[in-house]
């Protein structure tokens, strides 16, 4: 048993490993920085840093192939390297406590990034004045929602992530009396209404507004201030046969409705939603400018926060650098639109947001202790040298 442990330890405590990993991270950061031009900041994070391997598709196929270690891989090995080195080399003494604290800070920093990658959620809520919402929406992902709206009290919702549509993967859910069969998928598309009576749309869509719409495929966008708007053709197939094919897109403001098996259904491709047990109503949005100029002075929104069970019903003011923190989420004033009548809130969940601060404090304290000891020792030596008579 001792031999494998020794071999394990020798590999992971090795300073050579640290140097190799550092060199790999330099290459990774450089490559990712160049790739940011094409992929944007979010794409780069997902492809290079929040991945174990950087994957590239084999030319001409859809098969991903690992070409370089990713952020999780390099960061994970660095973490193991650091922890194992500590366990095998650490000896409790005051003189080493500075180094110990500094390295502990680095460990906390690495763990903080890992937890942020795993647990952080970022959503948006867009509210017009007077509008109430009890859900936030993703600004990256979309979902196909099939809603059983027959009950007067509630909606029964089945949501299918966009990736199923992209892969053309059929979905059969026990709550649905039909199968969802994706027929066509555009990751970004524009829609044009052909209602001038002259153009005939050639489309496999057989139901609702989609029969009058032309889909124009657009290149994917990676700009941080734009989002891709997918369009899909979805066929619903029951045991009795097909119910028809619908065109779905987040660009259609209303879900499309139909009846089947004596129930009312709605179908929509929408921005991915996160429902909350509370609702926000925008009372008003203010955009103050310095008198006589268009220079912004302050953005703020007054919000009524109401929980569904009535336990909380209060007014809150959100403005720049003064977010609302509620139920583990932080609501930031992120933007505005519609001639200052619409607010855009960014909603972030990051349970590990304190870790980088703790890490920095630990590292600063460690360096202070380490250099403090050196300074004291140095001053002691100088005094001793000065005390020796010439």
């Amino acid at each position: 048993m001792r031999e494998p442990w020794k071999s394990f330890r020798d590999f992971f405590v090795s300073l050579k490993l640290t140097v190799v990993l550092m060199a790999l991270s330099i290459v990774l950061v450089f490559w990712a920085t160049l790739a940011q031009v094409q992929l944007g900041i979010w794409g780069v994070q997902e492809k290079f840093f929040r991945a174990f391997f950087v994957l590239q598709r084999i030319p001409g196929t859809d098969i991903p192939f690992p070409v370089f270690p990713g952020g999780y891989f390099i960061g994970g090995l660095l973490l193991i390297n650091l922890v194992v080195s500590h366990i095998s080399r650490f000896k409790l003494s005051w003189r080493k406590s500075g180094i110990f604290l500094t390295h502990l800070g680095i460990i906390v920093l690495l763990l903080g990034e890992l937890f942020t990658g795993l647990w952080q959620e970022e959503y948006q809520m867009r509210l017009d004045e007077g509008e109430t919402k009890n859900y936030s929406e993703s600004y990256l992902f979309n979902e196909l929602a099939i809603i059983d709206a027959s009950d007067p009290q509630f909606d029964d919702v089945v949501v299918v992530p966009e990736k199923f549509l992209a892969r053309g993967q059929t979905v059969q859910h026990p709550k649905l009396p039909f199968r969802i069969v994706p027929r066509m998928y555009y990751s970004n598309a524009a829609l044009q209404l052909q209602d001038d009576g002259q153009t005939t749309v050639t489309t496999p869509v057989t139901r609702d507004i989609g029969t009058r719409l032309k889909t124009i495929s657009m290149p994917r966008t990676y700009k941080p201030n734009e989002r891709n708007l997918p369009t899909a053709y979805v066929e619903l197939v029951s045991a009795d046969g097909t119910l028809g094919t619908w065109l779905v897109s987040p660009q259609l403001v209303q879900p499309q409705t139909f009846e089947y098996a004596g129930r009312q259904w709605r179908i929509a491709l929408r921005f991915e939603r996160k429902y909350k047990p509370y609702a926000l109503t925008l009372i008003n949005f203010s955009h103050d400018r310095y008198a006589g100029t268009d220079i912004p002075k302050n953005f703020s929104c007054r919000i009524q926060l109401t929980t569904l069970d009535g336990s909380d019903d209060r007014e809150v003011l959100i403005y720049m650098n003064n977010p609302l923190r509620y139920a583990g989420l932080t609501f930031y004033q992120a933007g505005f639109d519609n001639n200052d009548r619409t607010t855009i809130l960014q909603i972030v969940r990051n349970p590990s947001w304190t870790l980088p601060y703790i890490a920095c404090a630990l590292m600063a304290l460690g360096l202070l202790v380490q250099f403090g000891f050196s300074l004291i020792a140095f001053i002691g030596k100088r005094r001793a040298a000065a005390a020796i008579p010439a």
Binding site: G130, D156, V157, V158, D196, P250, Q251, Q254, D294
Partner: protein, 200 residues
């Protein structure tokens, strides 16, 4: 050799971990939601007619403009496609003012004006005809091209006054559409409104 085993084991564990966060089909109940109001066909946003956008930010124009509307115009909620939306009511009925913006030139001025003409049962124009009818408006650093066209929709006389603001990377449309008499009466207010548009 033994080192290779450890590296392989570490790689295997890390690869397995990579597959942990995968979204799946979900089912849940939410309190009953009312459907958002359906936009009328004439209420269309400009590059994607008749299908107004869902109410979350989508790529439209990225420049920022502000404007001042007359007090008797009432602001309407906007979908993400509209930058601004107003209802103007009078004894003649209700007119709609939509402010939209799209990247690029959205097919060119002629195509867009002809689409508007199609919406009020007018035949398409040639470039020469359009240029003879276009009115140019300089407002500070902004240059608007304005059309005023009258036709019919469902047998009723309808007028569109449209102001198109072409920017280097995007195009803004201020489209005022409604009953002929009402839109004609409000034209002066619309022109003042257009001149209030400023970039910030």
């Amino acid at each position: 050799m033994r080192r290779c085993h450890f590296i392989s084991a570490a790689l295997a564990v890390l690869t397995l971990l990579a597959g942990c966060s995968d979204t799946q089909v979900e089912n849940y109940r939410v309190p009953k939601e009312s459907l958002p109001p359906a936009p009328a066909l004439s209420d269309s946003a400009d590059a994607t007619p008749a299908v107004d956008m869902a109410s979350t930010a989508v790529p439209t124009g990225s420049e920022k403009f502000s404007w001042t509307a007359p007090t008797h115009w009432s602001a309407k909620p906007t979908g993400a496609m509209r930058k601004g939306s107003y209802a103007i009511t009078g004894p003649e009925g209700e007119a709609d003012l939509s402010i939209t913006a799209f990247p690029g030139d959205t097919g060119g001025l002629l195509a867009n004006i002809n689409r508007w003409r199609g919406q009020i049962s007018l035949p398409p124009q040639s470039t020469a005809q359009l240029e003879s009818e276009l009115q140019q408006l300089e407002s500070g650093p902004l240059h608007f091209e304005i059309v005023d066209i009258a036709g019919t929709a469902n047998g009723a006389p309808v007028r569109i006054i449209g102001a198109v603001l072409a920017r280097p990377d995007e195009t803004w449309f201020f489209k005022f559409m409604g009953p002929d008499a009402l839109v004609a009466k409000e034209k002066a207010a619309f022109m003042v409104f257009i001149q209030s548009v400023t970039s910030y």
